[in-house]
Amino acid sequence: MLFTATGSDNGGQVHPSEWITVNDTGLYCQPADTYIDPMVPVAQAIITHGHADHARAGHQRVYATPTTIRIMTTRYGDDMAEQHYPLTYRESVSLGDPDDPVKLTFYPAGHIAGSAQALLEYRGGRIVISGDYKRRPDPTCEPFEVVPCDVFITEATFGLPVFRHPPIEREIQKLLHSLSVFPQRCHLVGTYALGKCQRVILALRDAGYHKPVYLHGALLKLCELYQTLGVSLGTLIPVSEVEDKQSLAGEVVLAPPSALADRWSRALPDPRTVMASGWMQIRARARQRQAELPLIISDHCDWPELLQTLREVDAPEVWVTHGREDALIYQASQMGYQAKALSLLRFDDEDEPA
């Protein structure tokens, strides 16, 4: 499906709707013959960040930030793509026909380490594919940078006015309070392996928690990577190396959400199930996860931050994807922007790192 041209040949400019399309494989830039965050292996891909619903293995050529490429090789192995081209923030590369090139530049998205917005420029038209992003301070990545453009593609994971994320410090206090009320219970915290896990550990350290943090095996490699990237996470101990699991009473154990109610957790002493995710704001979601202690910690924008971003980027046209598009499209239209939904096939909502 090709979007209808809305601002074509505007003083020689070609509007991005004429060269960016969506097909079954994903978001496609025709003149560069390149997909952005495709879900199946393609010849040439731009990857905004390392989460599995954006970065898949098996492409021939991959353009991404150096950190994202390290994350991908950590997750998928050194042969995750036939060739990869690391591109640092604000550095540009030309794609497609050298005589009629598409220029790609990455800017920080503030979502997780290495996360980028992709600016594509072609014949004077500019589109920013922001990937996933957030506006809160995050010590593991550079803050989101506002990039002027004709079309801004935004996610809407938390695109409803009910979503207002509290400060992470307050949520971490809830965890510390629970540790003092239930000193005999192992606090098993469900965190997504990439980004959320490291952010929770850092927030614990900032709050003065300096005991070792225990990790499920699935979280080890990425924590090690973050440490080599210069993010200091303190003492981390794999749960598998703890001989007497009863000694984990009153300790903090991090595990991927899928492991919370798994057989794996049965060895832990009277675990208290904690879940760190933006979804935890909605009670029914927390209960679905069987979280006794929901922590609202998100790597995405909440509603006010989404609106703040639309205002600051101030692109005349906004394409909304990835979540609760309807409300954001409505609100963006109210704010005077031309807005529409971009239907990209993604994983089911609940499995997203949020």
Partner: protein, 531 residues
Amino acid sequence: MHAFSELLDQLYFTAGNNAKAAIITDYLAHTPDPDRGWAIAALAGTLKFDFFKRNTVKKLMLERVDPELFALSYDYVGEMSETVAHLWPQTSSSEQDALPSLAEVVEQFQQCSRNTVGKLLAGYLDSMTAAQRWALIKLGTRGLRVGVSARTIKHILASYGNVDVAEVEAIWHGVAPPYTSLLAWLEGRADKPDIRGEVTFHPVMLSHPLTDGDLNSWSPADWQVEHKYDGIRVQLVSTNKGKALFSRTGDDISSAFPDVLEGLTSHGVVDGELLIMHGTRVDTFNTLQQRLNRKSPTKKLLAEYPAGIILYDILIQGEDSVTEQPLSHRRKVLETWLCEQNASHLHISPTLAVDSLEELNDQYARASEDVAVEGLMLKRRASQYVAGRPKGQWYKWKRQPKLVDAVIMYAQRGHGKRSSFYSDFTFGAWQGDQLLPIGKAYSGFTDDELKKLDNWVRRHTVGRFGPVKEVKKELVIEVAFDAVHPSTRHKSGIALRFPRFHRIRWDKPAREADSLDTVKALIDTPASRKS
């Protein structure tokens, strides 16, 4: 109010009845009167406010947020209290320490008027956190949904006071929030509250669905067989302090049915089925619905749809309880009691002569043909009247549901626990080449099937109307329902009673689903009904 909000939060996120009971017991032990009594009332659903309603909340919210954004938010969250709790504008002047006690909050909402409730509520919502707002709205609009039923509360109170739960149940409807006399008795500080002669609801005895093995050792002499009527279960109470009609959940519905309370000349508590009756002729459930939920019926409505009760049991004769007598005896008592009344709208449920299993099967077949009834009731003649659902005493044997193959047309997210799933489905039947919606169903499938349906909807969406997704007209479901009625409200001209999923026909082509005419042929005409 702070403690109450914490209580609800803990109950919400704690799984397991024992853990919940421990939390409530702890709250009772550490919270003063009358706060704790109001909390019990809120949990048990016995707290009502005249002017603090869902609509009050919604109206205030819509003064503060765009209606479109509110609708989308509500659809996503799936629950009004929480939607408002999150959408309410945050104010910087949130004075946590200044929150009043639960009793003060309750008192203020009870004393406020239609004109002042909005201001009162808005003031509170402004000064609260999202979790407290949620608790307050839950408190006002009832239905806390924290996994604690009124019955659970009675059990918790019984174990708190170390008394039998039957004792708590017996006096429950004779005591009122904030239950200070009840709690004083449970804590051994006072005598048991005296409730004799109060017009109270008495917990009803319920039946089990008949299952395959139940008839294996069936002996006709031990059982009373009656028709199962298609109305609503009610309890008629008459004492020297007054009279009332209660629904089976203990709601007082007297004002909607003043005609039923006429002509009672002696005291007692009787159990039966409320129906629209023209003399002895029973009208459809559809006509009964015209009268349900009407606070005060018009004369015209009363004349057009006169209500009656078919009685089948008696709990109290005069002032004396007969619940410990066997059914065979209670039946005689009921006959005597009915003779004393001057009420032609009260009838007794006829017992059916059944001397063998063959005759029972025969009666069942006839009851299935008879559109005025829903099937049979089998009651052990020796059964005492026991509140709740005792095993092996009473059985209901409902006639088989009607089935049609319909095509799924639209889907919508469910509520509460199901708010992330597309679980509410509109389905249609063919009229020529066109599908016309004939009903909505959101039950009858397993959790696994729900996941598959949800996934199917996400992959087959062809359009959206706000929260409603239109899907490809490809999936056939076998829908079960109790009856079809003509309806002017729907384009298809029919309305199904209690439609639910029977089977999902992943295999069946949509074109082979049933036509509207096939469904219409299943309509029970009122003329074919008889008592």
